[in-house]
């Protein structure tokens, strides 16, 4: 999935779109891809001056955005907005400018609008971060809720 096709399945837009390419996807099961970290990313000058690296919050965002692709590629979900519910993350290695941030995500549970999955980010062959994530498609989830 190239960067243009990606926009049909991932509602975020630059400069907050944290993935460039989806290299593999099996709808409802997994999605993998990467972001090329160019030296002029908006956050490098400020995070931090003299020691630029990709903020942890944005690494996590990249994992969540990739997991989103794994479920928005399911039939009927294209273009649907997703919301984060809860994430648990560990950061292990800094991600520097000029590197490729490789992202692998897997869906463990998808039912009634709720997705639980895991994501791992890699840099230079090492694990940069890993997360357990819960996201939802409110459009679907809301149909199952008691009416007020």
């Amino acid at each position: 999935m190239n960067s243009k096709e990606l926009l049909e399945y991932q509602p975020n837009r630059p400069p907050f779109l944290m993935i460039d390419y989806v290299t593999k996807v099996l709808p409802g099961k997994f999605a993998e891809g990467y972001k090329k970290l160019i030296k002029t990313e908006w956050y490098f000058p400020i995070h931090f001056p003299g020691n630029p690296n990709m903020p942890g919050a944005l690494q996590l965002e990249a994992l969540a955005q990739m997991l989103t692709v794994a479920i928005t590629t399911l039939p009927g979900n294209r273009g649907k907005v997703t919301h984060a519910i809860s994430h648990k993350v560990k950061f292990k290695k800094e991600v520097k400018p000029g590197r490729k941030f490789i992202i692998k995500t897997k869906v463990n549970f998808w039912n009634r609008g709720i997705c639980r999955g895991i994501g791992i980010g890699f840099t230079d062959g090492d694990i940069a971060c890993e997360a357990e994530m819960t996201i939802t498609i409110p459009d679907i989830l809301d149909k199952f809720l008691p009416k007020k």
């Binding site: 009634r112 709720i114 409110p138 989830l141 809301d142 809720l145 008691p146």
Partner: protein, 79 residues
């Protein structure tokens, strides 16, 4: 464990509450019973009683007490 104990345990565990709160417990009466909490509770009931709850019943499942009536439909008697 009888069905009432199993049923109660789903709520106390899912929402991390004391069983003294169950009788008056309703959807959105506590922060933990929000949209995601609702679906977690439904999944836990399905796992506990080996049933699949239909969409209309998931929508109607608005309180601890009313849920007992819903489960009767699935031949799960809570008492």
């Amino acid at each position: 464990m009888n069905n009432l104990e199993k049923y109660s345990k789903v709520f106390t565990k899912t929402f991390s509450i004391d069983k003294s709160m169950l009788k008056k417990l309703k959807y959105q009466s506590i922060p933990e019973w929000d949209s995601v909490g609702h679906m977690s509770m439904i999944s836990a009931l399905e796992d506990t009683f080996k049933i699949t709850i239909e969409m209309d019943d998931i929508i109607d499942f608005s309180s601890f007490e009313f849920g007992k009536k819903i489960l009767k439909k699935y031949k799960v008697i809570i008492k």
